[in-house]
């Protein structure tokens, strides 16, 4: 059965690229445009993995990650964040909030697929 991924980004073009890449590889994709939207969708249809931007209106990525980790059904679900900086501070902060790993922007399709395969196979 296909694995489902929640893709969160306020940029429509990034969401589109992520959806195209992941659906073509056989993953189901749920989209959200900000942290609040994502949290609602995460609760109503649990997914196998979350990919989220950090900088978003209406609840940013870090808060989203913290909120997701509070949900019992999200313990153990890989959460990957998108970051434009190779800033180690940000990565530490995100990991402390409960993130599993990251992808640096800009990224190509195969880089996205490699990370997804890495964390959910």
């Amino acid at each position: 059965m296909s694995k489902n991924i929640l893709s969160v980004d306020d940029s429509a073009s990034i969401r589109q690229m992520v959806k195209m890449t992941l659906s073509a590889a056989g993953y189901g994709v749920v989209e959200a445009c900000d942290g609040a939207d994502a949290l609602g969708k995460a609760k109503s249809s649990p997914v196998n993995m979350v990919v989220t931007d950090l900088n978003m209106p209406n609840m940013d990525g870090l808060s989203l990650i913290r909120e997701l980790r509070k949900l019992p059904e999200y313990r153990g679900v890989p959460i990957i964040f998108l970051t434009t900086e190779s800033d180690d501070e940000k990565k530490k902060e995100a990991k402390a909030a409960g993130a599993t790993g990251w992808i640096t922007k800009p990224f190509k399709q195969d880089q996205l697929l490699a990370v997804v395969k890495k964390v959910i196979g």
């Binding site: 296909s2 429509a12 153990g76 990224f107 964390v119």
Partner: protein, 696 residues
């Protein structure tokens, strides 16, 4: 959502963002202390930069980066949003817009001006780096096998944070010959174990020709808390246990040498003597085995790749046995589940894994490249071209495409007929071709390739093409369609596959007696495939055969409707959701579910199958996809995955297209296998009939 190109979506998005940015900046001019405006400007710049770099606008992104950094400084309170800063930002925004919408415009001067002035304002040297240069790939070293010892553990809460050690190990395995030892010394007694905590540590020995960076890459998300150590092991080690332990620093050499003198196994002695922990010996022994296997592998590689011939019936027998094994394994699984004994269940699970692997291996043994078939056709084309006095060449692609052995054999006759047809009726004689402005030699192309779970084989020619008028006339003459009926092309051309159909004006020895195409279609359908015929753009005809990759065993999802159980082919299944009582009650007539914003139509299988039992209170919907469209199938219960050995239905049921076959379940009863495409057609027919009767 804009269809197609994300870059196009980005352009539209960027325009909106730039407008937003402009508004924020203009407002900021009026109220420079408004933090929200600063944030909004920053966010717009950040998104434009980040997304832009993704879709090919690297130069624009690099430029925007500077403006974004300036606004970041403002956000942090280190820089004041002075009128000159805002003015610069507005100029920058113009430049950005131009860079996106008019990429040919030369903006170098304007850019430089802005950047210089920005640098002055910001006060620090503009980060010359801008966008970080991507680290270039390390100078490629000749791939050389290297042996590594990798040890790691995970942070206690790693699993909760989404790390899956098994996937890490799988990644290591994908790099080469890998031996993994899990060390359990930190695992607390059962009563104290927290199921969400990670207590294991792993010793891995890996022989690979991948570079060290590939190994580091496996651990990039965990390396901070993983106690990770990666060391190279000398390839030339003899592989004696004592050496390994000494090398690992577990025991001094002197002690090993003293022990070697006595007879009992070294590892045992060391442990008994308390010199070494049992876990260390266990792990070192694993490394030793790994080394020995490495040596055997190198010896094997030195020999040429070998293969053996096997009589075909033996392979068939093997497949039959594997099929029976799969069925018995299902019974075992069922017994183990109802029995409840965890030890038996563990064995049953192991059996299931082994059976599945065995099935995969046996399947692959039977796969043969289609090139073997194609090469037979060269002679055929040569002879036909000579016999019919036409110049024809045969071009083939995809010879390496693999198919199940039996399928290849059963494809021979249909393909021969299709090629004969092409050459006899499709390709014209030399004179006619030249008169039509074509080359004197006709071409027949055979192509084969994999597409998803199917194999596609096409026979194309550059001949006369299909004569729509003659086909329509013949179809009417044979009573297949009423006179003057207007059919879409693909339906009309399907008429060619009806028995007795041949528009050939002359019946040659080769083909044209009208017995061919319907036999071809039946042959293909008996392989559970489909065949279509149509014109080629540019002239000529194309016949496309689609076949499923495996005949005998598929992965299925077992479901229950009423008393009966059915199998849905797993590749078509996307997800399962519950049919809430509200949705169930609400829909009559049009039945749709709202799945995350998308309307998905659903079919109540219990209605379609006329199940006499009342519906289960908590029905499930299995969402399947067929090409682009998704449909929900409402069932009473989803039972689970099932390795399905396909048994064909007899002639008496073969015209019920909704069921493509049957299978025997673990308890000996029969489950029917659903053919999703025809099931949906049937359901559609029912709704059409119902609508007719309701007088719509």
């Amino acid at each position: 959502m804009a269809a197609g190109d994300p870059a196009e979506t980005f352009r539209q998005e960027a325009q909106e963002l730039i407008e937003q940015l402009e508004h924020s900046l203009l407002d900021l001019e009026q109220t420079p202390t408004d933090r929200d405006l600063v944030d909004s400007a920053f966010r717009a710049l950040h998104t434009i930069k980040g997304s832009g770099a993704m879709f090919g606008f690297e130069a624009m992104a690099a430029f925007t980066h500077h403006v974004e950094s300036a606004f970041d400084q403002v956000r942090k309170g280190k820089l004041q949003p002075s009128p000159s800063l805002v003015g610069l930002a507005l100029e920058a925004q113009d430049i950005i817009r131009a860079m996106i919408l008019e990429p040919d415009c030369d903006l170098a001067d304007r850019q430089k001006t802005v950047l210089d002035q920005l640098a002055q304002l910001v006060g620090s040297a503009a980060d010359a780096a801008g966008q970080e240069a991507k680290a270039s790939a390390p100078a490629s070293q000749p791939a050389q096998k290297q042996r590594w010892r990798i040890t790691f553990s995970l942070a206690r809460d790693a699993m909760v944070m989404g790390i899956n050690a098994l996937l890490l190990l799988d990644e290591l395995r994908s790099l080469g010959h890998c031996t993994v030892t899990a060390l359990t010394d930190a695992v607390p007694p059962l009563a104290e174990i927290d199921a969400e905590s990670s207590y294991l540590r792993w010793d891995v020995v890996l022989t690979t020709d991948a570079p060290r960076s590939a190994i580091d890459d496996v651990f990039i998300f965990v390396q901070d808390d993983a106690n990770l150590s990666i060391t190279a092991i000398d390839l030339s080690t003899e592989g004696r246990l004592g050496e390994i332990l000494v090398d690992r620093g577990e025991v001094p050499r002197r002690v090993v040498e003293e022990m070697v003198a006595s007879r009992p196994p070294l590892g045992e002695l060391l442990v008994e003597a308390g010199q070494v922990a049992p876990e260390a010996v266990k792990s070192a022994l694993a490394e030793q085995k790994h080394l020995i296997r490495d040596q055997a592998d190198s010896a094997k590689e030195a020999k040429a790749a070998s293969s053996i011939r096997v009589p075909a019936e033996r392979l068939d027998e093997l497949m039959d046995r594997v099929g029976e094994l799969v069925i018995v394994q299902a019974r075992l699984k069922q017994q183990a589940n109802s029995n409840g004994d965890p030890l038996i269940k563990a064995v049953a699970e192991e059996m299931e894994r082994l059976t599945s692997e065995l099935r995969d291996t046996t399947m692959s043994i039977r796969m043969v490249p289609i090139g073997s078939l194609f090469s037979r056709f060269r002679r055929l084309v040569h002879d036909l071209s000579r016999d019919l006095g036409k110049k024809v060449s045969l071009v083939t692609t995809g010879e390496e495409t693999e198919l199940d052995k039996t399928v290849i054999e059963r494809l021979n006759d249909p393909l021969v007929h299709l090629i004969r047809n092409s050459i006899d009726h499709g390709v014209e004689g030399t004179a006619e071709r030249l008169a039509a402005g074509k080359t004197g030699e006709g071409e027949v192309r055979l192509e084969a390739y994999h597409s998803g779970a199917q194999v596609v084989i096409s026979v194309k020619d550059d001949g006369r093409g299909l004569d729509r008028v003659r086909i329509q006339a013949k179809a009417e003459e044979n009573g297949l369609i009423p006179p003057g009926a207007k059919l879409p092309d693909d339906e009309l051309f399907q008429m060619i596959f009806q028995p007795g159909f041949s528009t050939a004006k002359e019946v040659t020895n080769v083909s044209g007696r009208g017995v061919g195409m319907d036999v071809v279609k039946r042959g293909i359908e008996s392989l559970r495939g489909t065949v279509d015929i149509g014109p080629r753009s540019g002239g000529g005809t194309e016949v496309t055969v689609r076949l499923p990759l495996t005949l005998a065993i598929i992965d299925g999802l077992l479901v229950r409707i009423g008393h009966g159980r059915y199998v849905i082919p797993l590749p078509t299944v996307e997800e399962c959701v519950e049919l809430s009582l509200a949705d169930d009650a609400r829909s009559s007539g049009r039945s749709f579910l709202n799945i995350r914003g998308e309307l998905v139509p659903f079919i109540r299988l219990r209605d379609l199958f006329a199940s006499p039992l009342p519906a289960d209170p908590y029905q499930k919907v299995v969402i399947v996809s067929l090409g682009e469209c998704r449909v929900g199938l409402v069932v009473d219960q989803v039972i689970g995955d099932h390795q399905t050995v396909i048994k064909s239905l007899s002639k008496l049921h073969s015209n019920i297209k909704a069921f493509s076959g049957a299978t025997i379940l673990g308890d000996g009863s029969v489950a029917l296998i659903l053919d999703i495409e025809h099931l949906i057609e049937w359901a559609q027919e029912q709704t059409d009939v119902a609508m007719l009767e309701a007088g719509e």
